[in-house]
């Protein structure tokens, strides 16, 4: 905005949101805040801060390469589609659903049961200890028997005519044997023996564990066994004919079973399998990465931005360290994968699956994290970056100065509108206080990522703020507040519309003057960025001229291309030769277009207006959206005409055209889907939309509601044809470029320029 004395000028620059005093730079604004409004509202300060942070972030992002932009656009896609209600995908976070615990109940029942088993197992262990406490080898068998009998009362022989395990009848040949642990009787076949070393192991381990661990190992079988044992209380006549195996202790299968389980438990407790050891190491490494990687990333980001907060050497050391950990993770997980593969009985398939999964997840981890590990600049690059950054800063400072000069002039002109606005500003900022919602999120109008950062027009800023407050009020269900706010909003919008009208007239007059200055700036800013741009620059230079060049405007839109252009992009980029549906695709502007709310539209026009830059910066994603004209053409309600001028279709899919006529979605009779017509109903939440009126191509047709109303009915049709033509040619250029036919590009560009001149003239006329 180089022209200084402009009565209808939009106020921009660093306005104080509370008193609308215009301040020269951000730093002044901040200090102004702290002095003048420090007591008024803490929240507002938060707003400013978040504004600064956003601006900073935006700058960082600008420096990043392409690709990121698109992802960002996708993320914002949802938001901008929804108007009024909320996309279910965006529903606010909710707390965990209801739960109910049965643990205490469970424990109560278990404890009652378990006491019994603890006692049983402990009994067995104690008896076993007693049985092994003396020197069996050097004791007479009679004496051993006496000791054994004293440990547990033996069941009376007469009471048990059949072996309780196998059911065979006891006789002279099939004799009775007593379990030394529980005293029960079984036949020889069913008898088990416990070796002394094993018994020792059990008893010694139990001594340690019993004190701490209350859980005995027991199985249903052992329940049975011990019950049987407890039935017998009478002492019995000894079976005299027992053989001598003094080294071992006889017992029943159930007692043995119980002891075996006990042993297993003891073993498990002591033994950690290899996989667990390796796994623990692996997790340790991963934790280390989680710690170190963010640190490194912030370092690298800062260095790549040309800042000098961190030293390059330190960063590269850290990088090396992190990389080493990655290698370790890789090695460890590989080891886990191959664990036991060479063993003779190959591991259980589930074990193998476990190992595979661990390896897989480690790979995922490395892949994911390594990807985020950006590279560092080399020393030379770093120097260059530092230099660039300095330049950037300088440029910014110049810009600030310029802006402040401008805004000072404007201040006088717009005094009239001030009073009402100031009132509004206060109302809203006061309202901001009590809402609990906002505190957490800071300045909501910004944090919602609607695509505006610094609003050039305080009016728009207000409108935008209020819109977001309405949203908050809605969310909080305060209907009365909403009404007040909406009333407010309406007033603001009316005034804004009026301003726009004035401004538009003024701006078109200023076009020529502005042009030169802007071009100079543009050259300086972008020419060195890429050589490739040159090509495109020529194509689009005609637009460039007409755009406002405020650097700050660029920032938000680079970051958050609205979904509008994305959708239309699809038509312009209709390149795919393969699937049959390609025939049907291009003629379907209907639902998307109809759905895009006013907000999307206004952003849309902006994005396209910035196109020349976009092409320089992140061209691959946006090459296709050649211009606002293209986008506009795609928006044109008459789908039938769209069919004709879709350039790529003509070139590549001519054959499919007839088939396409059967397409369900290209109904030409769509009533009034053109969202531009609705601008009056929809508050333009993107405050940065006003720059667009400066564009002679765009403004008279769409952006300015005033103009739309006043336009003759025939006028746009002719324009449409022109626009179509322009669009076609652009597509040809694009195509030619793709194929490398540079001479063709040249001719076409010339052609295009001519057409645009005609269009501009035509539009200038009615104005």
């Amino acid at each position: 905005m180089a022209t200084l004395d402009d009565p209808g000028e939009v106020r921009e620059g660093f306005l104080c949101p509370l008193c609308l005093k215009d301040l020269q730079s951000f730093y002044q604004l901040q200090s102004h805040y702290e002095e003048e409004h420090s007591g008024e509202d803490r929240d507002v300060k938060g707003q400013i801060k978040s504004l600064v942070q956003k601006a900073k972030k935006a700058k960082n992002k600008l420096l990043k390469r392409e690709g990121d932009d698109r992802a960002e656009a996708g993320a914002h896609g949802y938001e901008s589609f929804s108007y009024g209600g909320v996309d279910p995908y965006m529903w606010e976070p909710q707390e965990l659903g209801a739960v109910r615990s049965h643990l205490s109940d469970f424990k109560k029942h278990r404890a009652a049961r378990i006491d019994h088993y603890v006692v049983e197992v402990n009994k067995l262990i104690i008896r076993l200890e007693k049985l092994t406490a003396f020197d069996r080898a050097n004791t007479e068998s009679a004496k051993i028997r006496a000791i054994e009998k004293s440990v547990v009362p033996w069941v009376n022989d007469q009471d048990v005519p059949f072996c309780p395990d196998c059911g065979n009848k006891f006789s002279i040949r099939n004799r009775r044997h007593h379990c030394r642990l529980c005293g029960s009787i079984m036949c020889k076949k069913c008898m088990e023996l416990i070796g002394l070393p094993w018994a020792n192991k059990l008893t010694s381990a139990s001594k340690d564990s019993l004190s701490t661990h209350t859980s005995p190992s027991q199985s249903p079988n052992s329940v049975h066994g011990s019950r049987r044992g407890s039935i017998s209380s009478m002492s019995s006549v000894s079976s005299v004919l027992d053989e001598k195996d003094d080294d071992r202790i006889r017992c029943c299968a159930h007692c043995k079973d119980t002891l075996l389980k006990r042993e297993q438990q003891i073993n498990e407790k002591e033994h950690t399998p290899d996989i667990v050891k390796l796994y623990e190491k692996l997790r340790l490494c991963m934790e280390k990465v989680d710690q170190k990687a963010p640190e490194y990333i912030s370092m690298a980001a800062s260095l790549n931005a040309g800042e000098t907060t961190y030293s390059l050497e330190h960063a590269s050391d850290l990088r090396l360290e992190v990389q080493k950990v990655y290698e370790l993770i890789d090695a460890l997980s590989k080891k886990i994968l191959t664990l036991g593969l060479n063993q003779d009985p190959p591991p259980h398939p589930h074990t193998l699956r476990l190992q595979r999964m661990i390896r897989y997840s480690a790979t995922l981890f490395v892949q994911e994290k390594l990807l985020g590990l950006m590279s560092l600049p080399t020393k030379e690059q770093f120097e260059e970056l530092k230099w660039k950054r300095k330049q950037d800063l300088e440029r910014k400072r110049t810009m600030e100065r310029q802006v402040s000069l401008e805004s000072q002039r404007r201040l006088e002109v717009r005094q009239s509108g001030l009073s009402s606005r100031a009132a509004n500003g206060e109302v809203t900022s006061l309202r901001r206080g009590p809402a609990p919602l906002r505190k957490a999120e800071g300045w909501l109008p910004l944090s919602e990522g609607q695509g505006q950062r610094e609003d050039p027009d305080p009016l728009l800023q207000q409108i935008h703020n209020i819109t977001s407050f309405i949203r908050q009020a809605k969310a909080a269900g305060r209907v009365d507040e909403m009404c007040t706010l909406q009333e407010n909003l309406r007033q603001l919008q009316d005034e804004y519309d009026q301003q726009q009208t004035e401004k538009a007239i003024e701006l078109s007059r200023r076009q020529a003057e502005e042009e030169d200055l802007q071009r100079e700036q543009l050259q300086m800013l972008w020419e060195r960025e890429r050589e490739r741009e040159q090509e495109q620059f020529r194509v689009s230079s005609f637009h460039t001229r007409t755009r406002s060049l405020d650097f700050r405007e660029l920032t938000p839109f680079q970051l958050e291309p609205s979904p509008g252009p994305r959708t239309h992009l699809t038509y312009a980029l209709d390149l795919d030769p393969s699937p049959p549906q390609s025939g049907t695709a291009p003629e379907t502007p209907s639902p998307t277009v109809a759905r895009v709310p006013g907000q999307g539209m206004s952003q849309h026009s902006d994005t396209s207006s910035l196109n020349p830059f976009a092409q320089g910066l992140c061209s691959p994603t946006e090459e296709g959206v050649a211009s606002p004209a293209a986008a506009e053409a795609a928006l044109c309600p008459a789908a039938a005409t769209l069919k004709e001028y879709n350039p790529f279709e003509e070139e590549e899919e001519e054959g499919e055209q007839e088939k396409a006529s059967g397409n369900p979605f290209g109904d030409p009779d769509r009533p009034g889907p053109n969202p531009f017509d609705e601008e009056d109903d929809h508050p333009p939440p993107g405050p940065s939309s006003p720059p667009a009126p400066g564009n002679p191509f765009e403004e008279p047709v769409c952006t300015n509601p005033f103009e739309v109303d006043s336009d003759e009915a025939e006028e746009p049709i002719e324009e449409e044809l022109l626009l179509q033509q322009i669009d076609n040619i652009k597509a040809y250029i694009f195509d030619a470029k793709q194929c490398g036919r540079l001479d063709e590009v040249e001719v076409l560009t010339e052609n295009l320029r001519e057409l645009k001149c005609t269009l501009a003239k035509q539009k200038g006329g009615p104005d």
Binding site: G74, S82, G84, G85, V86, D87, P88, W91, P93, Q94, L96, G97, A98, V99, R100, S101, H102, L103, D105, F106, K107, H109, R110, R113, I114, S215, S217, S219, Q265, E268, T272, V276, H350, T351, L354, M357, I358, Y360, K474, G477, T570, Y571, L573, D574, D576, S578, P579, P580, Q581, S582, T584, A585, T588, P591, T592, P664, F665, D667, D669, R670
Partner: protein, 570 residues
């Protein structure tokens, strides 16, 4: 009110509570489905869950170095399996979560089986439904009714699912139901019963306007599940079938091995999330963008990989590239198959007539169009039958109804008897006699004007004219105009304000078209949040199965032989 998130939160909580270390997730058939809808394998792997086992699988290995998280429905079989498991534990420690209310006696028998004290947690986490989309859930029950009444087993499962949903969202609702449906009333009563019985569970923070549960019956709108769909999700379900987010592509000619079955989940497929509600043509162009994007990222070997830096860049981008190539080939295949089917089955033409049958009231033109399509050899017997069904439903009582003639045409076309019988079964299922409200002719002045205007202006898109009946019902409900004589409250209290949180449940299954309607309502209606559920999510095929399994048969219109046959089926 986000059901996907609700279930996801439950699962995350389970995993978190078990602490660090290697874990195995022990599930039953249904909970496997429930978890798989909200978590992908790689997502859950990151939480140290490396194995997924079914509680009923026999050859599980003893792995004492693993922690077991059991997420099970509280059925008798599961409790028995768990008792066996606890008697001989295979894992070091057990965290047990039931997806619904479990009886005290079951807890006791489990406690008594836990002799080795391996159980560290026993809780109820009410993730007892399939969360399809944030606003859509299903119970995957096909054939919930016998005739007009509930199959008792399914009634209890549905009650469980619905109460679990309420608990997971922490809603204690007022209940309204569709008066014309006995099943709806029954279900409403059962839900109420559970709420009363478990009143402690349902004690949530009171909201200003209490949430509302609206129970509907599919038979009130049999039209919607009979229509061909053109939005991505609905279309995929209609033409290919979505089962727990999985799509079986094995019948696609020339399909590659790793695309036999693909997963379409909005949770981790950005392209799908962005496009699931767009119509077919839009998807066509979007998929082109996806391809282009992909081609751009695809390394151009000959030129790009010359320097070491290039190679490094490639390697660093490789995982992303690979992921993307998966997405691209998946969607290209799916969309390709869809468009193949569309042209093969002449679906554009079929759909146009379907929409005419569903939305307009011109009998002679409709009849003419149906007759014309029945002559078309490209129209499959399935589509032919559905056209006749739509005709039969719409012009059931029309003075010059010529359904018998169409049935003859069907026979002449060689449509199998199964489908011909289904025509009358569908009428029996959702005919005028059954419907509580009028599907076809507008009721009040506003609606009449609307339709008149529509007739004047022409419609926006011939293929998507149809609005599910649910839209009108919900619209009235939101505006507080839903008639109490048709949709009464259960119990004495009524809602004085307009509802804010609405849960709609369709007995006999919802559809993706209705899900889209609800999605759009959510987005366009400030302050209102709607969740849609159904015993299942239907496409035409599954809907016809539902009709078949309900065992309703024709009365009179077709020959008596049909009557006896379908009667003997039950």
């Amino acid at each position: 009110m986000n059901v996907v998130f609700a279930v996801k939160q439950y699962v995350s909580k389970m995993i978190e509570d078990s602490g660090p270390g290697m874990k195995v997730l022990l599930m039953d058939k249904e909970t496997t489905g429930i978890v798989s809808m909200v978590y992908t394998q790689s997502e859950i792997l990151q939480k140290e869950v490396y194995l997924f086992e079914r509680i009923d699988s026999q050859n599980r290995e003893i792995m004492k170095h693993l922690k077991a998280i059991c997420f099970l429905r509280p059925t008798k079989e599961n409790v028995d399996y768990l008792i066996q498991e606890l008697r001989r534990p295979k894992y070091s420690i057990y965290f047990i979560y039931f997806s619904n209310v479990i009886s005290k006696s079951d807890v006791k028998s489990l406690a008594e089986a836990d002799e080795q004290e391996v159980v560290a947690e026993v809780q109820e986490f009410y993730g007892d439904y399939i969360a399809v989309n944030p606003h859509l859930f299903s119970l995957n029950i096909l054939g919930c009714c016998q005739g007009r009444n509930w199959d008792p087993a399914q009634l209890s499962r549905t009650t469980q699912g619905l109460t679990a949903l309420l608990l997971s969202l922490k809603k204690c609702p007022m209940i309204r139901y569709q008066l014309s449906s006995e099943a709806a009333k029954r279900l409403a009563e059962c839900v109420k019963q559970v709420i009363t019985k478990e009143y402690e569970l349902f004690e949530f923070r009171r909201t200003e306007v209490p949430p509302l549960l609206l129970i509907l019956d599919r038979c009130d709108d049999a039209i919607t599940p009979l229509l061909n769909q053109w939005t991505y999700q609905a279309m995929v379900h209609e033409l290919l079938g979505i089962n727990n987010n999985r799509i079986d592509l094995s019948r696609v000619p020339g399909i590659s091995k790793d695309l036999r079955e693909v997963v379409l989940s909005a949770e981790n497929d950005e392209f799908y999330a962005n496009n699931m509600y767009l119509n077919f043509a839009e998807i066509g162009s979007n998929i082109k963008n996806l391809m282009e994007d992909f081609q751009k990222r695809k390394p151009k070997e000959q030129q790009k990989l010359e320097s070491i830096a290039d190679m490094k860049a490639f390697v660093e981008n490789y995982p992303q590239f690979k992921k993307m190539s998966g997405t691209v080939s998946k969607h290209v295949t799916v969309v390709g198959e869809l468009s193949r089917l569309v042209s093969e089955r002449n679906l554009l033409e079929v759909s146009e007539v379907e929409q005419e049958l569903a939305c307009q009231n011109d009998h002679s033109s409709a009849l003419q169009n149906v007759k014309r399509l029945l002559q078309n050899p490209k129209v499959t017997e399935f589509d032919a039958a559905r056209l006749v069904m739509l005709y039969a439903l719409h012009y059931e009582r029309h003075s010059s109804n010529s359904l018998p003639g169409l049935i003859v045409d069907l026979r002449n076309k060689g449509v199998s008897e199964k489908y011909r019988k289904l025509v009358s079964a569908v009428v029996e299922y959702g005919g005028k006699r059954v419907r509580g409200s009028d599907l076809f002719s507008p009721k009040d002045a506003v609606a009449i004007t609307k339709q008149f205007l529509k007739g004047l202006k022409g419609v926006e898109n011939v293929y998507t004219q149809h609005q599910p009946f649910l839209h009108e019902t919900l619209d009235h409900l939101i505006k507080g105009r839903l008639k109490e004589n048709l949709y009464p409250y259960l119990g004495p209290s009524t809602l004085r304000d307009r509802p804010q949180d609405i849960i709609v449940f369709v007995i006999g299954g919802a559809t993706y078209e209705e899900a889209l309607t609800v999605y759009n309502l959510n987005r366009t209606t400030p302050g209102v949040r709607i969740v849609l559920g159904g015993t299942t999510v239907h496409n035409t095929k599954s809907f016809l199965e539902e009709v078949l399994s309900s065992g309703l048969h024709s009365r009179g219109r077709e020959s008596s032989q049909v009557t006896s046959r379908s009667a003997s089926r039950r």
